[in-house]
Symmetry: C2
Subunit: 277 residues, 2 copies
């Protein structure tokens, strides 16, 4: 798999800076976020990545379907932006459970997909449902397993609705191997980072660089490849320490780790695997 | 279901203080922890709860099977202590994944049960596997779903190896209703608290009193009752704010909430359900 840098990993870089970092470090894919793309301008960003020879492996993010307002208009705009960028997929973050009725919240995700899938198909855009770690079920993502995401995608053509396999969100799942095999061509995006302990105060930022934590990324990457996935492996890390580093330093580090096939980083890595009590 | 107070909810209370609080507030069950029991003395604690007319709904905790040492000797001692207290079950916390090999860690849980089940059966003690929220998979509990816990329990007699249904750990599970029904008489313990957002810095302490968070405890309690469970509903809350309150104040609060069947606490409760973005 070729490497892609999700721009959230170098959060303080502007779109042109991310593009430059990728080009300088031989990274062929980039994952973009809507806000910084809007800051730089949608058409300018599309032209910039094209002229740099980069592929846009994902656009983050649509979704947040579970409130009273399912945000369908905003999601249609996100689909248009995905098409304009030629991005491989639009990542959908499902949204949380506002009122203790988890079953109903999950139902709103299904009905939003029903409303959006034809629009995405018309735009030639792949929607990628992101199952999220159950830690985020309350306030961010009620789709908690890959199996659940695949059930939601099943009614639609494979190239219209698929899933994101993000190591952080799915690594713990006892059904992981089975569900990755089942996913096959529904895998529209493969994202890696690592689960580090102890979790920091803001669990959203509790992600390590791939190789620094508890996840068997070598094994997961094999599973995803064996399922037939031939897209990019995109590194998406939310971590204050990583954000504080020079962008090129982070990129070069990722290129080295990618070259090993995401082997654990032994120096210091094993220190980060405390097991209680 | 009758109410039980897990002593971790009033963490700073000694064993005699917990017993007094239960008796004064008409709470008929108590969940005990091994360390404070040892501080007070095992036999003295057994005599104290007996004379107070309390039932011990659980003893926390055995387990931590996934290291190189499966801690079998310590677990046998925990089984003996459970028998001495006449506790309904011994809660088993599985342990984390020390070396990135999650499948092997889960295998060590299975082999530890194989070693311990005959000993527990001989002592007349029920072992209760606690499936833990996937947030704790890395460093505390590799058994991540109720279904997985039931698969682990399946080879053993129902009254020897069962499961804990703890609302915090299982509420997000898309298979929850199915698995609670399947669990039936394997449910050896039912514990409640609530999922509050945002999570605090130490996620172990991110538990709210039942009714203060995102979990549909009315629905879950119905599921558990419909599965045939007739034991105690035990409140186990790790929360610095709760620990800072007078013990009797916490107990009286729980008695009131229990009387409503764990209805959401509206005053302030809804304030605590922020959904991003």
């Amino acid at each position: 798999m070729k490497l892609s840098l999700n721009q959230a990993t170098v959060k303080r870089a502007s779109v042109p800076e991310v593009v430059d970092v990728c080009v300088r470090n031989g990274i062929e894919g980039v994952g973009l976020w809507r806000d910084p793309v809007a800051d730089h301008g949608l058409e300018r960003t599309a032209a910039l990545v094209r002229s740099a020879g980069l592929e846009v492996s994902s656009l983050c993010r649509g979704g947040f379907f579970t409130g009273a307002d399912q945000r369908l208009d905003d999601n249609r705009r996100a689909i248009d932006e995905t098409a304009a960028l030629g991005a491989s997929c639009l990542v959908l973050v499902p949204g949380g459970v506002p009122d203790r009725d988890l079953v109903a919240a999950r139902g709103r995700v299904a009905s939003a997909l029903e409303a959006l899938a034809p629009y995405a198909e018309g735009a030639g855009v792949q929607l990628a449902i992101e199952p999220m770690h159950p830690m985020f079920c309350a306030d961010r993502g009620v789709v908690s397993t890959l199996g659940q995401a695949l059930d939601l995608a099943a009614p639609y053509p494979i190239d219209v609705v698929g899933v994101v396999v993000d190591a952080l969100h799915v690594w713990w799942d006892p059904a992981l191997a089975v569900e990755v095999r089942r996913a096959g061509p529904r895998i529209h995006s493969y994202q890696v980072c690592d689960w580090i302990t102890p979790l920091p105060a803001d669990v959203l930022l509790g992600r390590g660089l791939p190789g620094d934590g508890h996840v068997d990324l070598v094994g997961l990457t094999s599973l995803v490849a064996d399922a037939g996935y031939t897209g990019y492996v995109e590194v998406e890390v939310f971590n204050e320490d990583v954000w504080a580093r020079p962008f090129d330093d982070v990129a070069a580090d990722l290129v080295r780790r990618h070259a090993t096939g995401w082997e654990p980083v032994v120096d210091g890595g094993h220190d980060r695997l405390p097991v209680t009590p």
